[in-house]
């Protein structure tokens, strides 16, 4: 097991490469979800503002 983690002496390089790949892929999968949510909320807020402006109440 410890042999597996040692990666024949290249542990630092191999595991940093895999860790970075993991982080980049997860980030690129999660960011678009959050982005879409944010845009929807922004459109909804703009809509409510417009609704208030049109009805004339502050």
């Amino acid at each position: 097991m410890s042999q597996f983690f040692a990666m024949g002496g290249y542990a630092l390089y191999v595991w940093s490469a895999y860790a970075l790949a993991f982080v980049v892929v997860v980030w690129q999968l999660v960011a678009p979800w959050r982005c879409e949510r944010r845009i929807l909320r922004r459109i909804a807020r703009a809509q409510q503002r417009r609704g208030r402006d049109e009805s004339g109440t502050p």
């Binding site: 490469a17 790949a21 982005c35 879409e36 845009i39 409510q48």
Partner: protein, 247 residues
């Protein structure tokens, strides 16, 4: 065929389908990733010269392929958007840029992490590495140009021209290892005769590549939904959707 394509390009329909496809591709990507990781970390032999460090290949080479694949997708969709004035196509083109840039960055850094123990240097200004860095700057340029132009239609046109001009870099990256002398090794898989790589290493490489590709599709389609919403923010269906979300 054309009418079906036009129907697909209708924003509300594309928005719905992109959700479905994005989920489907995400699960495909994960289903390929698990055996891919198993083979690349456990069930593949160490290289006779590079030892265990060869395992970096299974995250590095697919990332480099995807960096180019993503660019070609982006330029193609940008071109379609330019010619047919399709909002869905230019939304997809815009969505390719961040994911493509991320894979380019990943290819550069994992390459660096592989280069240090094998070549003795993190970086050299050779043709392969430099042209890949130029690719990253092309993605950045695309994203910067998109952010800098207020008018969405004008931004789509300008970025499409940039993307199409930048395509010349793709064959340069691919052939850089043949045209110039370099530390970087030549192609072993993507050449016309038989791949000069053993099946035990080719299998994890292909599994990881297809996994990256499916995940790239999931990223792009998910982001395209946001782009569609921005373009269609004043149309009825988006307003309804946004109010439903809020409630």
């Amino acid at each position: 065929m054309l009418t079906r394509l036009y129907a697909l390009a209708s924003p509300p329909r594309f928005y719905r389908l992109a959700d479905l496809w994005s989920r489907w591709l995400l699960w495909c990507g994960i289903a390929l990733l698990l055996p891919g990781l198993w083979f690349s970390l456990l069930d593949s032999p160490p290289d006779y010269q590079q030892g265990e460090s060869v395992r970096i290949m299974y995250v590095h080479v697919p990332a480099a392929w995807l960096s180019m694949f993503g660019y070609v997708c982006m330029a193609t969709m940008a071109g379609i958007g330019l010619i047919f004035r399709s909002k869905a196509a230019s939304a997809v083109a815009h969505s390719c840029a961040p994911a493509g840039a991320a894979f380019t960055f990943l290819a550069l850094v994992t390459g660096s992490l592989w280069g240090k123990p094998m070549w003795g240097t993190w970086w050299i200004w050779d043709a392969r590495l430099t042209s890949e860095l130029v690719l990253l700057f092309l993605y950045f340029g695309y994203l910067g140009l998109k952010a800098a132009i207020e008018d969405r239609e004008a931004a789509a046109r300008a970025t499409a021209v940039l993307a199409l001009v930048g395509v010349v870099n793709i064959p340069i990256i691919h052939y850089s290892v043949e045209w110039w002398n370099t530390l970087h090794q030549g192609p072993t898989v993507t050449k016309l005769d038989k791949p000069s790589i053993h099946l035990s290493m080719l299998l994890p490489l292909l599994l990881m590549s297809f996994s990256y590709m499916a995940l790239f599709g999931a990223m792009v389609l998910r982001r395209a939904r946001g782009e569609i919403l921005l373009r269609e923010r004043n149309s009825g269906w988006v307003r309804e959707l946004a109010m439903g979300e809020k409630a």
